[in-house]
């Protein structure tokens, strides 16, 4: 890095940082590391693309096949045999599906309710955590201490948090949003703070040399570099916000998937309880994938390459 050129990663679509100074070295290395497969492919294009495509298709279908296999085994009561369970302890998928069909309207309404709690808390907590991390990054030493204190919030279990939030915010939707916000705030703060402060010193030194103000350094250097950490925090938060919303509803709630789940378990109405679990899981997956999609769009240069 003798020339010390700052790379604008955003412009690079390929994912490998092309450093002009060492292009001659890395370029050839890159060219050499892509073995003959590409050349080969060109020659036997039609055939290779065919089998490659088939492989790709099978790989994509495999998880679905595994899922269907699992459901089939469940329906055929393999797990009931394995763990000596009765139908009233573990309902079969057909019973769960019937329950979803019979209660579709209520489940949809409750899913929206719980989803609002999840998203609301997630956005609020992530925003607050991000602001805290951003503020702390301006004062590295005291900021670190502050973030450490905040991460103590992470240790508070949801079962302790929920009744407290109920006391503060009543029994409405805000108490659950508060629960989710508290648990997501700490995670985001820690994650983003790490991202904001883990910059290679050369970049910082360069900006200092160009007499950049702290705000300019933040906006042009720290923030772009911290985007991967931001999304990592968002992904963690999405998972915990689901747990937070559902568990929060176990305590005092009159609607929502968590409320319905805890109620139906008491009534031994297992099919509907499991229906809640299934819907909550589906909701969680959808929202998580939304975050992943957002990440792909907003920071496309950070795509992790695997050998798939």
């Amino acid at each position: 890095m003798s020339e010390g050129v700052v790379v604008n990663r955003k412009r690079d679509e390929n994912g490998t940082a092309a450093l002009p100074g060492s292009a001659s070295l890395s370029g050839s290395a890159v060219a050499a590391s892509v073995p003959g497969s590409e050349v080969q492919g060109q020659a036997e294009q039609g055939q290779l693309v065919g089998t490659a495509r088939k492989k790709w298709l099978i790989l994509r279908l495999l998880p679905w096949l595994a899922g269907i296999c699992f459901l089939a085994l469940w329906q055929l009561r393999l797990f009931h045999q394995l763990f000596s369970l009765e139908s009233y302890q573990l309902p079969v998928p057909s019973a769960i599906a019937a329950s979803i069909r019979d209660n579709a309207e209520m489940l949809f309404r409750y899913a929206l309710y719980s989803g609002t709690e999840m998203l609301g808390g997630f956005l609020l907590g992530s925003l607050l955590g991000a602001l805290a991390a951003a503020g702390a990054s301006f004062f590295p030493t005291s900021g670190k201490a502050g973030i450490a204190v905040m991460s103590a919030l992470n240790a508070v279990p949801i079962v302790a948090l929920a009744p407290i939030m109920n006391n503060w915010f009543g029994d409405g939707i805000w108490s659950r949003i508060a629960v989710v916000a508290v648990i997501t705030m700490a995670a985001m703060a820690v994650s983003l703070f790490k991202g904001l402060t883990s910059i290679q010193p050369q970049y910082g030194e360069l900006l200092d040399g160009l007499a950049a103000s702290r705000m300019q350094a933040f906006l042009k250097l720290r923030l772009p570099h911290a985007m991967p950490s931001l999304f990592a925090g968002l992904k963690i938060n999405m998972s915990t916000s689901i747990i937070g919303a559902i568990v929060g509803e176990f305590f005092i709630a009159s609607q929502g998937l968590g409320y319905l789940l805890s109620d139906q378990i008491r009534l031994a109405n297992m099919p509907l309880a499991w229906a809640c679990i299934v819907i909550a899981a589906a909701l969680g997956i959808v929202l998580y994938e939304a975050v992943v999609l957002a990440e792909k769009r907003i920071i496309p240069w950070n795509r992790v390459r695997t050998n798939a």
């Binding site: 006391n167 305590f251 009159s254 409320y259 009534l267 031994a268």
Partner: protein, 353 residues
């Protein structure tokens, strides 16, 4: 690198497999085997361990069971009683059905809906004979007549326990779905104290006195009696799994006999029994005064005016019919309850012979 990865993976897989096998032990059989005698040669009778699952935390609501244990009524029947307290996350029916407890105390409403969902549970004796539910409102809310609850916020415990309240509303001309706002009540009376609700549900033996003990005067409250309105549902009942009863009939009779004897003792010796209860409550969870009133009130529900000692635990058909009807009418259960199957009357009859 791959060599260590492979062996490391093997270790993890083996650990998981071992954990899985250990965790997946076959369903524990209910403990009906006699406990082994400590020394081989002595002629002392060995006691059979019976686990009794309480409906809630230790309190005078279960005084009869604690009294029975303390006074040796269980021992007289050859039983070593293990009393398991309940709590917010413990579902009595599940504990009894999966063998974690042999018998349990639960509400008849809860028993009916569990049976409706396939759980093979039966009632051995009916402990509480009248509903304990009262609807209370602060005088400042101005609800002197049930009809004035229209448009107000009413809190009650959900799950299976709200149906008496629904029936009460309908009896007084209110549509529980449209005319009142029904909200879920927690384990505390905080919502009532904080005016978050206009009307709250309270049991006469517990929450009602919690409210009075907090400084609210009886003259500050409007109280509505659900039992007197004719829509009370039966509450505490002694349940067991049908299979267990069939294979342990003698034991079931003995447990029932001991518990009912315990209750008669508790009702006739209240001061002493409160001492017994206090020695079993969680430190700091309650006061002696609260337990004294609780025992007084619950005694009136278990052995009401006109009931003989022998009638404690009996099944009053009319009350059961009413309870089952309300359960069916308001959708707690989907099929009409088969009370002949649900109530193991023979066990009670033998126990009080």
């Amino acid at each position: 690198m791959y060599k260590t990865l492979k062996s490391g993976l093997m270790v993890v897989v083996m650990m998981l497999a071992v954990t899985l096998l250990a965790a997946c032990s076959p369903k524990t059989e209910p403990s009906a085997e006699p406990a082994a005698a400590s020394s081989g040669g002595d002629a002392e009778q060995s006691l059979t361990n019976v686990k009794i699952q309480l409906k809630w935390v230790p309190q005078a609501q279960f005084a009869g069971i604690y009294a029975a244990k303390e006074q040796g009524f269980f021992e007289d029947e050859g039983i070593d009683a293990e009393i398991i307290p309940g709590g917010p996350d413990i579902v009595i029916e599940q504990q009894v059905v999966n063998g974690a407890a042999d018998v349990g105390i639960t509400g008849v409403d809860s028993l009916l809906v569990s049976r409706d969902n396939g759980l093979p549970l039966v009632s051995l004796a009916q402990i509480s004979q009248k509903s304990s539910y009262r609807l209370i409102a602060k005088k400042s809310a101005g609800i002197t007549d049930p009809a004035q609850m229209k448009g107000k916020k009413v809190s009650t415990w959900f799950g299976s326990q709200q149906f008496q309240v629904l029936a009460f509303m309908e009896k007084n001309g209110l549509d529980p779905k449209k005319d009142i706002e029904l909200v879920k009540q927690g384990f505390t009376m905080d919502q009532f104290f904080n005016d978050q609700v206009d009307v709250a549900t309270a049991t006469i033996y517990n929450e009602y006195h919690v409210v009075l003990e907090s400084g609210v005067q009886e003259s500050d409250l409007d109280v509505f009696n659900i039992e007197e309105a004719g829509v009370g549902m039966l509450e505490d009942t002694l349940i067991a799994k049908k299979d267990w009863v069939d294979s342990n009939r003698d034991l079931a009779v003995k447990v029932t006999r001991a518990i009912l004897k315990g209750w008669n003792y508790a009702i006739d010796n209240q001061a002493e029994t409160v001492d017994i209860v206090m020695s079993n409550v969680t430190d700091g969870s309650t006061t002696r005064e609260h337990q004294v009133t609780m025992l007084e009130e619950i005694a009136k529900l278990i052995r009401p005016e006109g009931f003989t000692e022998q009638q404690v635990g009996s099944f009053v058909d009319e009350s059961f019919a009413r309870t089952a009807d309300i359960a069916l009418n308001y959708g707690l259960i989907k099929k009409a309850a088969n009370l002949d199957e649900a109530l193991e009357k023979s066990i009670y009859e033998e126990a009080v012979k």
